[in-house]
């Protein structure tokens, strides 16, 4: 099905199942420990071997030699596969750093060997016996120091401009010019990367933890130099990803190579400390924002520049992209610059670009509002735009940022905020409120599905879509149930298997809308097949409801269409250019109340509210969970998350969950989420848009602005740890 004209009324609009508060259909499995994740596949007739990874102890250079003799003789060892022994492997399309193979070291903890043994304990002990001689080279690890060497990236749109920024800024009544930094961040999802690989002749099956089944399948085939058709990937449950499982990772490659060598299925999990330096991270940024405004609050000039670093061949963190679209202003420019760094690969983490971009932009907006003497909510509303500010012919498909801000201000009690920073004191606490806009584009990708109706009236959906905690199982079941007029418990959903039609996968907050649109397309086809089978005329106005198909007076049980054999159809949604003619984005507003301990500078979050306008909400329960999870991650970004770079040796020092501090229970208060009641017919037949990344964009800035309101201290370098506040806090009395 091609989607190239705005959606009109369709069965999803009935809203009998879609849009309802339906509990996760995988909930009973997950809460009882019966959901099976990658490392947990177990065939009682198979003797699995265990692989343990060895990572490079240097950040840049070459392997001089590796001595694996002691490891090979260690108890239980079956095989040792080394990167210098195996030679260069082809790199997959989506990776920047190679995952394994060859003697060149590109980053710290890059995989250089896998030791296979009968047990996990034996493999781990033997891995410690691998001796490596390195020829170390000097690397570049400090973004601030490398900033002046940054170049214009060759791909994407590194520069944008409209009007004449320089002239308008020069003559603006109010001029603002500030710089901000955001640190390297780690996805830190709870399930570490893990794979089990099993060869059967030339056929390879890999149980793994992947957000994008087809990308992994393609890149694993490329890396191993085998035909993609020979690779079978399974990933039905994924313990979180946040972007870290978008692209093929070392565990799958090592498991496949190790299993080939050991001639047995091999299990490989990356130990937790490998997550930070072996895989990918969100790159640090340095950002400069300039805003020129009239005294009445209208922005006349806005500029946003960003610098980040990555390995050779890598890409920038596109932290300026939201600034091209979020606020009005006739004269504007953005620029993205990229330095070469020898740190581990920088890549997508939840709301790549927009999350760190909004961390800076939304502080800047708060600062300018204060300079103008305007309420920060009003200042944002004054500068709302209903068209792409760079191309005023191009409207937003649907945009209600103003509604988000106004609803949030009212529900949060924004009018009680003290305008004068540092003036609300409750015991030891300085209390303040902060606000930020939320903004993230809506992306559309083709997505396929297969649907089957059997004689019991059970509808089975198969797609290689993944559920990384997002609720895909549930919203896909809801979609099929709505389309075919059956209750959710008559729908079975199978996901994450490369034998199923290729879907959008999970990333960029496109998965929910696109994968359900793919299921919608397949269900439209199934409805046609059912109608034909049951002898309805193609001109009949058909209803699918309560397990029956009807037209006029005639009603037939749905299952009857499959009485002699199951009906199976397959289709995919493909998108025309509605996302080009119209800017499709999602909007929101974050409100946060913080307390800052006047003696220690410790910040505590007291209240949080998000208001989101993101098209049709397919399931208010799972959508809300996406948003509160993102708000939680935003608090981490504001207050504690930072990969600390060892600028001499070139690695992230705090590579575990004790030292890389993500929020815990005690850090997070009760969270409120409000969804505006809206649909976006431009996005897909589902009229839904993304939500999972929107929820993160702006949160950290709302916290930062709240801290400023509480203390009068403006911190422009994330995370806002107490050492950055303590010197300027009022004297303790």
């Amino acid at each position: 099905m091609r989607f190239d004209t705005p959606a009109t009324t369709n069965p999803i609009d009935q809203g009998k199942v879609v849009g309802q508060r339906i509990h996760r259909i995988d909930g009973p499995l997950k809460t009882t420990g019966r959901a099976v994740y990658a490392y947990e596949w177990h065939d009682p007739n198979t003797r699995y071997a265990y692989g343990y990874v060895v990572g490079s102890a240097i950040a840049k250079g070459r392997i001089g030699s590796m001595d694996v003799s002691a490891a090979k003789q260690a108890p239980g060892v079956i095989a040792v596969v080394t990167s210098d022994g195996i030679g260069e492997l082809k790199k997959g399309k989506y990776n920047t750093a190679k995952l394994f193979g060859g003697t060149e070291i590109q980053h710290y903890h890059q995989a250089i060997a896998v030791v296979v043994a009968e047990t996990f304990e034996e493999a781990r002990a033997a891995a410690a016996l691998v001796k490596v001689d390195y020829a170390e080279q000097k690397g570049v690890f400090d973004l601030a120091a490398a900033k002046d060497t940054a170049v214009t990236p060759k791909e994407g749109e590194p520069d944008s401009a409209a009007g004449d920024f320089d002239a308008a800024f020069e003559t603006a009544a109010v001029k603002f010019d500030q710089s901000y930094t955001t640190p390297d961040q780690s996805h830190a999802m709870m399930e570490p990367h893990a794979s089990i690989a099993a060869w059967n002749g030339d056929d390879l099956t890999v149980w793994t933890s992947s957000q994008m089944i087809d990308w992994w399948r393609t890149d694993l085939a490329t890396t191993l130099g085998i035909d993609k058709e020979k690779v079978h990937i399974m990933s039905p449950f994924i313990g979180g990803g946040f972007g870290c499982k978008l692209f093929l990772r070392a565990d799958a490659v090592l498991a496949a190579l190790a299993a080939r060598e050991a001639k047995r299925p091999v299990k490989v999990a990356l130990p937790r400390p490998f997550l930070m330096n072996n895989t990918t991270h969100r790159p640090a940024t340095i950002q400069r924002i300039r805003i020129g405004a009239e005294r009445n609050g209208r922005i006349t000039a806005i500029a946003h520049e960003s610098w980040s670093g990555d390995l050779p061949g890598g890409g920038p963190e596109v932290a300026v992209q939201q600034t091209r679209l979020l606020y009005a202003g006739a004269n504007r420019m953005t620029a993205t610059r990229l330095a070469t760094l020898d740190l581990p690969e920088g890549n997508a983490m939840r709301a790549p670009g927009e999350a760190p971009g909004m961390m800076a932009l939304e502080i800047a907006i708060d600062e300018v509002a204060e300079r103008l003497g305007l309420d920060p909510v009003e200042f944002r509303i004054v500068n709302d735009t209903q068209v792409d500010p760079e191309n005023r012919e191009r409207p937003f498909s649907h945009r209600n940022l103003v509604g988000c801000l106004r609803t949030g201000a009212e529900r949060f009690g924004w009018q009680d905020r003290n305008k004068q920073p540092g003036t609300r004191r409750e015991g030891n606490w300085l209390v303040g409120m902060g606000v930020a806009s939320a903004f993230r584009n809506n992306l559309v990708l083709p997505s396929g599905a297969r649907v089957r109706l059997d004689r019991e009236g059970i509808v089975t959906v198969e797609t290689d879509m993944t559920d990384i905690g997002t609720g895909s199982y549930t919203i896909i079941a809801q979609t099929a149930a709505e389309m075919l007029g059956v209750p959710v418990d008559k729908v079975a959903v199978s996901l994450g298997d490369s034998r199923f039609p290729v879907s959008s996968g999970s990333g960029g907050q496109f998965g929910g809308n696109c994968s359900t649109a793919g299921v919608y397309a397949a269900c439209v086809k199934l409805r046609e097949a059912v109608a034909q089978k049951l002898g309805f005329n193609s001109s009949d106005e058909l209803t699918f409801a309560e397990g029956e198909v009807g037209a006029g007076d005639r009603r037939v049980p749905l299952a009857q269409a499959a009485s002699d054999e199951s009906l199976v159809v397959e289709d995919r949604i493909e998108f025309g250019d509605l996302d080009k003619t119209h800017q499709q984005s999602t909007f929101g507003a974050h409100f946060v109340e913080v307390g800052v301990d006047v003696a220690t500078g410790e910040t505590r979050i007291r209240r949080m509210l998000a208001v989101c306008g993101a098209g049709r909400i397919l399931n208010p329960i799972t959508a809300r969970s996406q948003v509160i999870g993102a708000m939680t991650m935003g608090v981490g970004g504001a207050l504690s998350e930072e990969l600390v770079v060892d600028k001499e040796r070139g690695f992230f020092v705090n590579h575990d969950l004790a030292a890389y501090e993500v929020p815990v229970h005690a850090d997070i208060p009760h969270q409120e989420v409000i969804f505006l009641d809206e649909t976006d017919p431009m996005s897909s037949p589902m009229k839904a848009k993304g939500i999972a990344e929107l929820g993160l964009c702006g949160v950290a800035a709302a916290v930062a602005n709240g801290i400023y309101n509480a203390t009068g201290i403006r911190v422009r370098e994330y995370p806002i740890t107490l050492d950055k506040l303590i010197n300027e806090l009022p004297e303790v009395s």
């Binding site: 009882t32 177990h42 002990a125 709870m190 399930e191 979180g240 999870g629 993102a630 939680t632 993500v662």
Partner: protein, 211 residues
């Protein structure tokens, strides 16, 4: 009495000093990890009950309780999130007390009674805490969830017998199941999906139901 100025300096110095310590310690342990001495595999026979069933295993001495459950008994409901005692995903109950199964060797639990998430309830007959997690959507990816549920079940028992926490104001008064107490006591269980707000509601409901 210190002057405010002196206090300020000491606070700042303390921060700098502790940050430096963290750096040195991490670096040192790293290089060390590449040069461990070989260890011959030695095994021990251990028997304990798991979810009411008596189990006997011959295990490499280095086998953690977590790996004994997951790799030897194939009870994979108990998760490995870090293997370092930093995340709580591996929380199980040993004789009713919550324990990080990755931080303890299986051989140390001879004769003890272990309860895992599989022992609390099954699909179709959920433990009240499991049902409350489903009801309040106290999870997303589900990977921290068995640990959160085991931890919260044991945590409510700890409160019943008045074991205090950092959030407890009056040590002599009976412990009260407040959101602050729940958050403090559950802080050893990380949820990167960020379901905390919902988890606290689920636990509150179960605590209220019991009371």
């Amino acid at each position: 009495m210190q002057s405010p100025g002196a206090l300020e300096i000491s606070r700042r110095d303390l921060l700098v000093a502790s940050a430096a310590t963290v750096t040195v310690a991490s670096t040192a342990s790293l290089s060390h990890s590449q040069t461990n001495a070989p260890a011959a595999s030695q095994s021990t026979k251990v028997s304990f009950t798991v979810n009411g069933e008596r189990r006997e295993l011959q295990l490499d001495n280095r086998t953690t309780l977590l790996d004994a459950l997951r790799e030897h008994l194939h009870l994979t409901g108990t998760k490995k999130g870090c293997d370092h005692g930093q995340c709580g995903a591996c929380t199980v109950l040993i004789d009713g007390r919550r324990v990080n199964a990755c931080l303890t060797l299986a051989a140390m639990h001879e004769g003890e009674g272990i309860t895992t998430i599989e022992g609390l309830g099954q699909p179709g007959s959920l433990h009240p805490m499991q049902a409350a997690f489903v009801e309040h959507d106290g999870f997303q990816c589900g990977y921290c969830t068995p640990g959160q549920i085991c931890s919260s079940v044991a945590m409510l028992e700890e409160m019943k017998v008045n074991i205090p926490s950092h959030a407890t104001g009056d040590l002599l008064a009976p412990a009260e199941v407040t959101p602050a107490e729940i958050r403090e006591r559950m802080s050893g269980n990380i949820c990167r999906c960020g379901a905390y707000s919902n988890i606290v509601q689920a636990i509150t409901e179960v605590a209220g139901r019991k009371a």
